[in-house]
Amino acid sequence: MKIAVCVKQIPDPATPYGLDPETHLVQRPEDQVLDDTDRYGIEVALQLAEASEGSVVLVSMSPAGTLQGIRQALAMGADEAVVVSDPALRGSDALVTARVLAAAIRRLDADVVIAGTESTDGYSGVVPQQVAELLDLPALTFARRVEATGDGIRIERQTTTGYDVVEAPLPVLISVTAAAVEPRYPTFKGIMQAKSKTVEQPTVGDLGLTPDEVGLKGSGQRVIEVRPAPARSAGTKVVDDGEAHLAIVEALEKAKVI
């Protein structure tokens, strides 16, 4: 089984970041890391590949050409990576991102495409579905459990009231939630091997797209203003000296709950 996993490098959430006041784009510091939510997709991919003697290729895009996060993903055990690297990608919206990823995946002839449900930094939450539509694939989304059925994939799909069991034949796209698996940690050997694994870095031109079709120019939306939300101020803080529960009782009485 050949599996493609969509992954994203994001600013390290431990490092404060904001928006560029002029361009309104996310300021992307040098210390890019693998989006934590992608570890679940990689783990699902590795398990499916291990059971079928298959392979796992990472697919990503990187306006700045950084690869730190990709190396982290390769260290978990993925075989190789395709990272579309082109400054023209800066400012791409969800649909443009999906077009670029779909163009990269199309060349791979994958049986299964896996993605997280949404990225931690942009969280538009629609890129996997857009990729599926562009590639004319069924999409088994919001999976909290994934299993191969021989000629297809079966998942447990989260719904608003519980879960559904959903099946589709290959080729198929799956979006996975954090409930699906427990991601493995990279081993020292994995980290060493990651350094020598193949990372192809095509430009948008190599994928048959023009710079005008991607980035800010290719996106049909533009941020016009960024402003602070009306702040909710902190109220009273009490340190529990054994009697703090009485303050809670008082607050509940005031709110007419009791």
Partner: protein, 315 residues
Amino acid sequence: MKTLVFAEGTPAGPSASSLELLAKAREVGDPSVFFAGEGSDATWAALGAHGATTVHHLEIGDSLPAAGAAASMAALIELEAPDLVLFGLNPTDRDTAGRLSARLGVPLISNAVEIDTSKTPITVTNEILGGTTLVETEFTAGSPHLVVVRPKSFIATEVGGGTPTVTAAPPTGDGPAMSARVVERHEEASTGPKLTEADVIVSGGRGMGAPENFEIIERLARRLGAAVGATRAVVDAGWVPYSMQVGQTGKTVKPNVYIACGISGAMQHLVGMKDSSVIIAINKDEEAPIFGVADLGVVGDVHKVLPKLLEALGE
């Protein structure tokens, strides 16, 4: 302005988000609904009561709805040319919105909390960085404008409209994308009030320490007639079901009182609960971000404070 609202059929009727979106669509003018699922007279009446004048109905059988719904909606959009198409944030809403965007080649703005249709072009506001920052985005591409709206951004209200005209939505066609099938459905029954409708919510996070410690949260909730919520970390760890998750990837709640027990206040959680009227937080770490939004912050050990609270409440 013509607006089309996506509605998924649920066992309880039209999705809650579709009724919220109809409130906005009504304000903009001339709302119609694309309904995917099993319809009934009660469902049509509910949609009509919330202001829908036309319902385009797609029967989906055991198909996973999104691929067929997107194909049918694309055909409908060609005929009706709506300016604005609105979706909720439920899984099927997101699936359909994403597919429709790709199919039509038009952009989509997600996580909207406000839509300003008085501006040309339309602008959409969403929240980032845990709700601390608002971003206003305009569509530079032509219509239809597709928007995915966060729950509770608009308030569902009945306006006493009559039964809408119900017509069959355009056929879905066929293709590999439509081959996903639902083979089993499972409802996860919960007791007490629903999280999204509850007046009071008691929520637990990692600070509860272990799954069995959630019992005291449930006892407090029972005493207060409250619903039980949880953070993503606790749901991911398998302590409680996903249906209890409050936050960016879970439910958005706006109760009268929200009691956060052992919750540090990660951005992902704050987004889902910061609009509660009164927030009470109990946490050991006095630097926890939750104290930045709490009306009453108790710096203390939940395992000591909660038993005393229950005792004081005469449980």
